[in-house]
Symmetry: C2
Subunit: 254 residues, 2 copies
């Protein structure tokens, strides 16, 4: 039987969630990179796989599927060896996971992805940075982090919905939050600082899925480092511009 094909870009957080899920659960796959910054997701050959022109998508022996949450649910269904905690068979526990996954779309995802897009990534995708979009997304993100801490992470167990082991909801939401490393350090600590349970949960997801979580995030980490260097360089250049101007102003007073 043909191996499962994953169409992904490791800069996309739902792509990373699907990749990590397969690696953790020993599901064999071929990784096909669709470079978002080259516009490969908008090309006709890719739209034949996913007409929405988004990543991730899968091709499982001819069956094509997109939307990461649908993919994760499907991968559980067709791989009976996947441990139950990822998407519990118990109806109430499964419903709780579904509830968190559904909530995610218009809350944490809209906030985090909107902020990163409008504040950091837009230019590399040929779009303009949008301060209004960024402010709206930041407000949604802050409200979502508060709900994550006070609704989904109550109870004595480590994972979302007071579960003892991670579900596909933990993986999806953790990959979403992990992209915040593209912001500067002050912004990250302002956003995550107030939420101890969120930070501890994020570490728990990383540790439980080690080494795959960190491995799949290596590319993001590399890009994050480059953004940091660029910000540092821009600050130095501003200082160099400011310093002669200050000297010149001082001289004019003499």
């Amino acid at each position: 039987m043909a191996k499962l094909r994953l169409y992904v870009d490791r800069m996309s957080q739902p792509s990373r969630a699907v990749l990590i899920f397969c690696l953790v659960n020993n599901i064999e796959f071929e990784e096909h990179t669709i470079r978002l910054n080259k516009g490969e997701h908008k090309r006709a050959e890719y739209k034949a796989i996913n007409p929405l022109g988004l990543v991730p998508a899968i091709d499982d022996g001819g069956f094509k599927l997109y939307e990461s949450h649908a993919i994760l649910r499907y991968l559980v269904a067709v791989n009976p060896g996947v441990p139950d905690h990822w998407y519990p068979a118990d109806m109430s526990r499964r419903a709780q996971v579904d509830c968190i996954l559904d909530w995610h779309h218009t809350n944490l995802r809209r906030g985090a992805a909107g902020l990163i897009m409008n504040q950091v990534l837009a230019p590399s995708l040929g779009l303009q940075l949008n301060p209004n979009g960024s402010a709206e997304a930041e407000s949604i993100l802050k409200s979502s982090l508060m709900k994550l801490e006070t609704i989904w992470l109550t109870g004595s167990n480590k994972f979302l919905g007071n579960a003892r082991q991670p579900s596909i909801a933990d993986l999806s939401l953790a990959c979403e939050l992990k992209q915040l490393q593209l912001l500067d350090e002050h912004a990250i600590s302002t956003l995550l600082g107030p939420w101890a349970k969120v930070r501890s949960w994020l570490s728990a997801v990383e540790n439980t899925t080690a080494p795959h979580f960190a491995d799949v995030h290596l590319h993001l980490q590399y890009v994050s480092k480059r953004f940091k260097e660029r910000r540092h360089q821009e600050k130095s250049e501003q200082r160099n511009i400011t310093l002669p101007a200050a000297i010149s102003a001082q001289n004019s007073k003499l």
Copy 2:
């Protein structure tokens, strides 16, 4: 066993989807109305049921659940008598329904609900109408209607994903679109006019779930009529203001 409790407002489209699903499938329930325009969803007693402060929510013998798609999936799971087409057991067909449900959140829902909120409903919920938010939502809605017609409604069968009978995705998306009747007739025909398959699909969902679809939408229809009358009255008042001004202008020329 305690009857299923539904916490809903018939002005909320996901509330209507859950109500219609229960009526069509003879699932017994008690309807508890949580009036959004009275702020009842923000009260402490309701937040004990749904801490997110949104409708719909359910209480099934003590198990509380929110997010309409999660509720619909759960109601299928706990009611084995529900016909398979609503959420097929077949893994690929179920994945297709999941894919459409997931897509819905940030596309058709964000567009339609955003437009109606920012253009019509905000004042009745104590909020201001927002022209920028309305324009953004309209653009998302137009793009979503195009995708609905060209991606989800291709194939010879009537329902989403080329299905012969409706799924919970059809019900959720149809209730979303049905709220467009709150707009004026010109706006509705501009939005839906280009999409023959969407219009025909909407009728098919209404007919297949008759008489419940129409019954549950009666309140929306009533509110829609009131908005129409108000718009008509405002136009008459504008004419009455404009007419004396025109006569006065004419007189000044004599």
